[in-house]
């Protein structure tokens, strides 16, 4: 028989005690110092800034690019960063680039709004009737995987060589992902919130505007973001392929034309403009909207 099996661990009975609660002032008066948080060093503080870290990364990439260009030493194949920046600035100052960008953005805006309108119509149908739901599920399953650009030949047949066909493909690229996201957002609104809305006697329309849309806003915003990126991509591609069709060319046409004329630095400047505009919308427009809404409400981090 081992000793351990018979051992009983009896904890000792200790005396009780109470401590009167001292106020913070009393604690301070008694000289019990609360250690202050250690201040961050300059480098640590700078390291906290995300934009700074990203800018440094971008600068490194630019240096690498410039080095590559100098090493290959062929303007036609790979113009350097400085040369591209120069083309970008010159194009902007001469008003050539802004004109092309303006044309692109104007078409984009029309197609985007048409797509948003279509998506909201479709989701409204989907949440109010079962047929609408079936329709949305079927149509999105069919058309969401279909690249918008693949529809351009058909669009050209239907709407001719003009803005109409571009707006059509843009609408197609925005509508399905947005409808899918919005619908998913509506469906994930908590049952309690719906019941609370019905409890106050909200009608069908106010139920959508006052409960469903704000509650689904994170999903709707992400749908709008995806839709915007898809539309921008589709537009540039469409202009590259069929740029001449719209009479006045857009940014894609500028890129295509510059390549034809072997202005490779302008090609890169055009690509840079595409990237810059994309970043601008993502970081300024959408982030601002998110900061003022879903993040402020604690619905998204």
């Amino acid at each position: 028989m081992s000793a351990g099996a018979n051992l009983k661990w009896e904890p000792p009975v200790r005396p009780e005690y109470e401590v009167p609660l001292a106020s913070p002032q009393a604690v301070a008066a008694a000289g019990i110092a609360v250690p202050a948080a250690r201040p961050l060093g300059t480098i640590e503080r700078l390291g906290q800034l995300a934009w700074l870290r990203k800018t440094i990364l971008l600068a490194l990439i630019a240096v690498l690019w410039e080095a590559m260009a100098r090493w290959t030493d062929n303007d036609l194949l790979l113009p350097g960063f400085l040369q591209t920046a120069k083309a970008l600035v010159e194009g902007t100052l001469s008003g050539e680039l802004p004109r092309y960008i303006g044309v692109s953005l104007w078409v984009l805006l029309q197609g985007y709004l048409a797509g948003v309108a279509g998506a909201f119509l479709l989701t409204t149908l989907a949440i109010s009737t079962r047929t609408g739901r079936d329709l949305l599920e079927t149509l999105t399953a069919m058309f969401n995987p279909l690249p918008a650009i693949a529809l351009l030949p058909v669009a050209l047949l239907w709407f001719g060589l003009g803005k109409g066909s571009l707006v059509f493909v843009l609408m197609h690229s925005v509508m399905w992902p947005l409808a899918l996201n919005t619908y998913a957002g509506f469906r994930s609104v908590p049952e309690t919130l719906r019941m609370a809305g019905r409890n106050y006697g909200l009608g069908k329309v106010r139920m959508v505007t006052d409960i469903l849309v704000p509650a689904a806003l994170p999903a709707i915003l992400s749908g709008l973001k995806i839709g915007w990126a898809f539309a921008w991509r589709t537009l540039i591609a469409a202009e590259l392929v069929f740029g001449t069709t719209s009479g006045k060319g857009g940014l894609g046409w500028y890129i295509f034309q510059s390549r034809n004329e072997l202005f490779t630095d302008k090609v890169f400047a055009g690509l840079g403009a595409v990237i810059l505009i994309g970043l601008l919308f993502e970081n300024v427009v959408f982030q601002q909207v998110e900061r003022l809404t879903v993040r402020r409400w604690g619905m998204q981090r």
């Binding site: 919130l193 019941m195 409890n199 106050y200 006052d210 509650a215």
Partner: protein
Amino acid sequence: MNVLPFQVVQNEPLLRARGVTIDYQSERGTVRATQDVSFDVWRGDRFVLLGPSGCGKSTLLKAVGGFIAPRAGSLQLDDKPILAPGPDRIVVFQEFDQLPPWKTVKQNVMFPLLAGGLGGKKIGRKEAEARAMDWLARVGLAPFADAYPHTLSGGMKARVAIARALAMQPEILLMDEPFAALDALTRRRMQEELQGLWEASPFTMLFVTHSIEEALVVGNRILLLSPHPGRVRAEINSHQFGLHSAGGTEFQATASRIHHLLFGEGGAVEHDEHAVAVQS
């Protein structure tokens, strides 16, 4: 609605449930939630529906709220049948997401006032704001009027929901296990505060809980329901108990009587974290 002085003799109950049978559809077919349940709630009652899970107490409350239509039987409020949800029966839910996160605390309290009006009449934004601030002050949340719900603790969210409901001055306040998601200390505090609000200006309340102690402390009359399906087991008076009678012998006796009624002789030792805790 004017608050009636409580000495007034009432000859009609406010809420009348008669032979209420509720079925709901599940994946395995139709499930009976409650069967032939009848009870009366009078003005000024703190009427508790008490029973283990599966006794249909929440379903019953949602039927009174107008969210579920009974399969048989009738529910009448002030002699009018209950057909749909309405602002005369405001529900306080258990879930914290009952507060729209995009509205501040004050806007949350104002929202139903602006949407549903007060006693069937539309009221202006100014009046709604004044009422909201008044009720927020009563639950001690006036300093947080402009905070968003996600910055509040669970107990504070429950307070906002209660203020929002009471600001509407509903005919009857429906509370669906409002404190079940709170920790034990906060729950006790909320029970005290609810008691205080009721004493300051009495209202009628239908309160669902699965805690015997909470039922005895919060309610003045308790309807005991047996599970699968929910049937009436007993109706018990608890007006004599308050928050400070929890340790008393009479309280303990009633609690164990309820326990016997719900779980039978053998079930008395069945461990339940919400069963009456022996307090000194």
